[in-house]
Each structure stands twice: as structure tokens, then as C-alpha cells.
Symmetry: C2
């Protein structure tokens, strides 16, 4: 009597429950929907929910309803709330959807992993971090194409659940990203250098330029604009990510300050900026010439898989398919 | 018998002799030609000359011929060679075209003014600095639209020749720029903050990021790319401008290092980055909201004109017409 229903790979992929509909969560909701996923979103404030609904998406302000539906449908739950709201949302997940695959899109992975462990959700948790963004924020700034071609870090710890890892990596790939595996701690050290430090350098440049008065600001052109672009980001967002990664960021800041101080002293003593300028140019060239090779030979779940993935990520590897 | 020939304002504008056909000189040659000026270029190496000729421009490697023609036609001579070649080119100008209006497009004005004074060419010299560029260099990187909408600083000193000033400002306006008047010293202090400091911050960021290894470089996204863009610039060009402005750049570096050190210490002691992040955001907003008003009421050549122009530039004023 009951004929089996033929489902496509897309429609059999797990549904997605996105908690937080700002720039990243809102973009993820759009991207997952475009990939054919069943997806719904929750946001604390009604403004973003109304905007999402007006754009035709399934969204609401009832966290209990969103998580109950996630538990009933075995959805992937994505935490996309600002850092300060993390603990409260995790408490609700622990109460209402403790067996769902859980991931996040927060830019610091160690502190999220700690918070997840505190509420006992580590068994199904896989940290995530799409390396994409703009200086704008909120639902209206979102874009379903934001993650296309971007790197999406999917954290692989020794105790990570392989099925959950595959599920989260599949979502990242569905959103158009390439997946770079990394451990939470090494991820945080890396993003301190390539994301959080650039924000503080941009702030310092903006302040130093403005100290030159209106003449300096009137002359500001390309190098100023690019160098200060991320200083346009809402201070609360910059502070949240920098302060959650304080230990690693302090190390990166110390290195940058040491380089600048040495350059300043050399300029003063010898008139030369050669050491810093040559090293900086070579470093940027190294970035531009980085070869991102495809990880194809690691079976998720096989003995030592997480360590093998982390090692591949450290050597510049990425997954383009599962 | 001889009918007067009716000439347009464009064709009666002085011809232009561009010395150096790199990014800026090559762009200026194109822009001045597009504005209807008679224009020819000189470059030491034959490669750029051949490229310019292939693109239909009048260019050669004979400095004596270029300057003799300038003297015969009362052309504006534009120095667009790299800083190290400056003295040699100025010596030729002093010998062959000492009465031509002379300007330059070098990014540091104090050292050029000193060099011009050493060869006795100050009477007809007006320093210039178009605030435009890219990380690329050479004739092929040039673009006749590079200066469109850009700020072009035209230096006004107390002893500047008003006719020469008007002539150089006219060339900048013909190239599509707005003219900001400034003294050489205040210009150099301003560009240390908005152009030379950004270059050294970009170099320091590139080095600190690369110290994180291939994982960090693989995760590098928008904030890294924007923050290090100018580290792609040829080291020789970065060094030339930074080292020619050592005194002002040292002051700017000290301020930036002090801000970063204070932020590092606050992050370590209190976990907060509030002071720097709020100040940086406010400074960038101040830049974005800067009102560039039109200078219309200063007669060049009238008593105290140069000081009045400098004062207007300091208060955010610019000329869009003469």
C-alpha cells in the first residue's frame, strides 16, 4: 500500500534551524533555503523576524517553538547569536533539542566549545566559522551568496562525533563554501592574526589619521580607506570577537607592535624601512601564491580521522566535497 | 591677410612635459591628452616609452630633447620620476628649462622642495601630489581616469609664484581632480598619517598573519585582504615614500604603537578593547561625514593668498574650478 517516496539528496539533507538572524545567520538561512534545505529561523528581536518574513522566509521570535521543531525533525541547530547571548541560547538548546547536531558561526571557537561543554552538549557539537562578512550587520545586510567560494572552518576535535561533523560540513558545502578542518585552539590563534588583529590595526589607523585633522582626512585615499574599512564595523561586534579571543589576540598584537617598533627605530636610526617592507611584501606574496589543495583521502570516522583532518588543514588542504 | 585663429580654452592651456612614465606619470600623460593638452613624455628606460608609443602617445628617452621642447613652448614640466632619480632630473631641468613652470607628483613635498631649492628652481616651482594610486606600477598600470574625483594637493608656500600655482592647479583640474591647497610641511605630516602609516601597518599585518602558517593564510578573508592590500606594492616604491618622510612618519608610528600597546595592555588586564574600538569607529565615521566645501572667494596673487588657501585647505576646503 505505502509506496516508498523517492527523495532527492537535497530534500533528504537534514533541515536547518538558525538561531539569530543577523548578517551571518540571515545569510545562512537564505543560502540553505537556496540549496533546497528546509530551514527556519529564530531571532530575539521582532524587527529582523518581520524583515525575514517579508522576504518570504520562515522565521519567528519563539525560541521554544523553533527548538521543539528542531528536535522533532532531527534538524541541525545553528547558533548565530552574538557572543553575549550564547549561554542563554545554549541553555534552551540543552533543554529542548539536546540530541540535535549543533554548530555555530561565532568567530572564536574555544570559548564556544567551553560554553557548549558547560551545558553538556559536546556530544553532538561541531564548531563552525564561515570566513565571510561585511562591515554591515543585520538581516537586511545578509546575502545568500555571502559564503560562495569562502572558507568555512569546521572544527575537528579528537572527541568530535563523525556523523555530526559530516552533517555540518555538508551544510557548509551546500552554502557554497570550501571546508577547512581545524582544531578550536589553532583556529583561534589563526583568526587572531588574520581577522582580529586587522580590526585593531584598522581602529588604530583611523584614530591616528583623524589626529591629523580635517586636512589629513581630506587627503585620505585608497590606502587609508582599505586600511580602515573594518573600523566601520559596529564596535559591539568588533569587541565581542576580539575580547572572546583575548589570549591569542594579545600574542598577535605583541608581534605586530614589535615589528612596528623595530621599523620605527630603524627609520629613526638609519632612515631605512627595508626590513619590514621587504618582509611584508614577501608575506603578502606568500598568501597570494598559497596552493589550496583538495583533501580527498580521509574517511571521516576512521581511526584518527580528526587528527588527520587537522593536519591536512594545517598544510593548506580543504574539502570541496564529502 | 593673416586671419586670427580661434583657439579654445583647452588648446590654449599650456603644453605639458611629463618626466617619468610610471603609474602616475603615465596616467597624467593620458589624462592631460584626454583634456586636449599638447603633452609629451620622457622615460629613462625604453620599455615604458615603447609601450606609451604603442598606445599612441608622444614619448621618448631623450631628456635633453624633451626639456628643450618644454623651454621652447613654455610647457609645464612635471617631475614623475622615483625619488632616487629626482636630483639628476632636476639638474637637467635647471640647465635646459629653468623658466618653465615646474611641478611634481611625488608623495613627499618637503624633500622635493629642498631639492628644487638646491638647484635654484624654486621661483617657478609648485609642489603637487595627486592622492591616487594602485598597488600596481609602470606604464601599463596607468589609467587616464585615475585622477578623476581624486584630491590633488597643490602646495602653496608664502613665496609661491601665483601664475605658476594657477597653471599647476589648472592641470590638476583638467585631469578631473579637486585641488586641495596645503603647505609642504603640513602636507607631509598629513600623508604620514593617511598614506605612509597605512603602508607600514599593512606590512606588519602581512608578516604577523604569515607567522600563523598556512592555516592562518588559508583562513585570511576580507579584513586581511583589505588590511594588507598595499603590501602588494613594490617595496622600492613603499620605501621611497616612507623614507623620504621619516620625521613625520616616526611621529605617526609612535602614535599608532602607543594606541596598540594601550589596547594590548587593557585587553590583558581587563579583557576590554572598548577604548580603541570606540575611538576607531568614531574616527572612521568622522572621515565618512567630512564635508568638503568649495573654496571660491580667494583670489590667487592677492595679498596673503597662499596663507588664505592653506587655511582653507586645513578647514576641509577644496577648489573645483579656478
Amino acid at each position: 500500500m505505502c509506496q516508498p517516496i523517492r527523495v532527492s539528496a537535497k530534500t533528504s539533507a537534514p533541515p536547518v534551524c538558525v538561531l539569530g538572524l543577523g548578517l551571518i545567520g540571515g545569510s545562512l538561512l537564505r543560502a540553505a533555503a537556496a540549496a533546497g534545505r528546509t530551514v527556519w529561523g529564530w531571532n530575539r528581536s521582532v524587527g529582523s523576524v518581520d524583515e525575514a518574513r517579508a522576504d518570504g522566509y520562515d522565521a519567528g521570535t519563539d525560541l521554544r517553538a523553533a527548538l521543539t521543531r528542531a528536535a522533532e525533525t532531527d534538524a541541525i541547530v545553528v547558533i548565530a547569536v552574538p557572543e553575549p547571548a550564547l549561554d542563554d541560547v545554549l541553555t534552551h538548546v540543552a533543554a529542548l533539542a539536546p540530541n540535535c547536531t549543533l554548530t555555530d558561526v561565532v568567530s572564536v571557537k574555544g570559548s564556544v566549545l567551553d560554553a557548549v561543554r558547560r551545558v553538556g552538549l559536546a556530544a553532538h557539537f561541531v564548531g563552525g566559522h564561515p570566513m565571510a562578512g561585511t562591515a554591515r550587520s543585520g538581516w537586511s545586510a545578509g546575502d545568500g551568496a555571502l559564503f560562495r567560494g569562502a572558507v568555512w572552518v569546521v572544527a575537528a576535535e579528537d572527541d568530535t562525533n563523525p556523523a555530526a561533523w559530516t552533517s555540518v560540513a555538508g551544510l557548509a558545502l551546500d552554502c557554497g563554501s570550501v571546508v577547512v578542518p581545524a582544531g578550536a585552539e589553532e583556529h583561534d590563534c589563526a583568526v587572531a592574526r588574520i581577522s582580529h588583529l586587522p580590526h585593531l590595526l584598522a581602529e588604530a589607523l583611523a584614530v591616528t589619521a583623524a589626529s591629523g585633522g580635517d586636512l589629513a582626512l581630506a587627503l585620505a585615499a585608497g590606502s587609508y580607506r582599505d586600511g580602515t574599512r573594518v573600523a566601520s564595523t559596529a564596535p559591539s561586534l568588533v569587541r565581542a570577537m576580539c575580547e572572546a579571543n583575548a589570549a591569542a589576540l594579545t600574542v598577535a598584537l605583541d608581534e605586530a607592535v614589535a615589528l612596528l617598533t623595530a621599523a620605527r627605530d630603524a627609520l629613526d636610526a638609519t632612515g631605512s624601512t627595508e626590513t619590514l617592507v621587504e618582509a611584508g611584501h614577501a608575506a603578502r606574496v606568500r598568501h597570494d601564491e598559497l596552493d589550496r589543495w583538495d583533501i580527498t583521502d580521509i574517511e571521516v570516522g576512521a581511526l584518527g580521522w580528526a587528527g588527520h583532518l587537522r593536519d591536512a588543514g594545517r598544510r593548506g588542504g580543504a574539502l570541496r566535497a564529502l
